[in-house]
């Protein structure tokens, strides 16, 4: 079985995986990081979004072996202890979540958007969320949260 070594949330991890093991399976089943969710298994819903070398990626679409040497950030690594990341805080403030299942993917995706576009418009945000599905609330408050979160991130720099 191939072995894969990568950095996850700042910590080095090595695991034996099968050729077919997906990055999300490595994260959830072998590293116990169950904050990253599998909602659809068909790369549509975006609940599994993590950052790989700074870019948001659907971790159910990447083989674990493809992440060899990569720097992976999951939802568990975003907050600074009990202090929420500005994007997480904005989701909380603007009621951008209900059941929370899509939330890790939404937040990770939103953080990547805010890195690439300091001041996204509502249109930019809605277009960016094409790959993230929420089945609870609709997207109104999620969009509001991301706008506020992006502003907070730009202000913090």
């Amino acid at each position: 079985m191939p072995s894969v070594t990568l950095t996850v949330n700042g910590k080095k991890a090595t695991a034996e995986v099968e050729n077919r093991t997906l990055l999300v399976q490595l994260l959830r089943e072998q590293l116990g990081l169950t904050g990253t969710h599998v909602g659809c298994d068909t790369s549509q819903c975006g609940a599994c979004v993590v950052h790989v070398d700074g870019n948001s990626v659907k971790s159910c679409t990447l083989l674990a072996v493809q992440a060899e040497g990569a720097n992976v950030l999951t939802i568990e690594g975003l907050a600074n202890g009990s202090e929420l990341h500005p994007m997480q805080a904005a989701f909380r403030e603007h009621h951008g979540l209900q059941c929370g299942f899509c939330t890790p993917g939404m937040v990770m995706s939103a953080v990547d958007l805010a890195h690439k576009n300091k001041n996204p418009t509502e249109h930019d945000i809605r277009e960016w969320l094409e790959g993230n599905i929420c089945r609870c609330t609709g997207y109104h408050n999620i969009v509001k949260a991301i706008k506020a979160g992006a502003e907070a991130m730009a202000g913090a720099r």
Partner: protein, 49 residues
Amino acid sequence: MAAVAIGAPVRRKEDFRFLTGKGHYVDDLNRPGQIHAYILRSPHPHAAA
């Protein structure tokens, strides 16, 4: 005078764990020796097995 609660927004208690990836969903269960079930339904409404 006590704060008026009616109509006031209430911050949800559960959001912190959902936002930090610490929510617990059924798919997150991973017990030693855990087995998985899948329900295979008959394509026939009435038939002899």
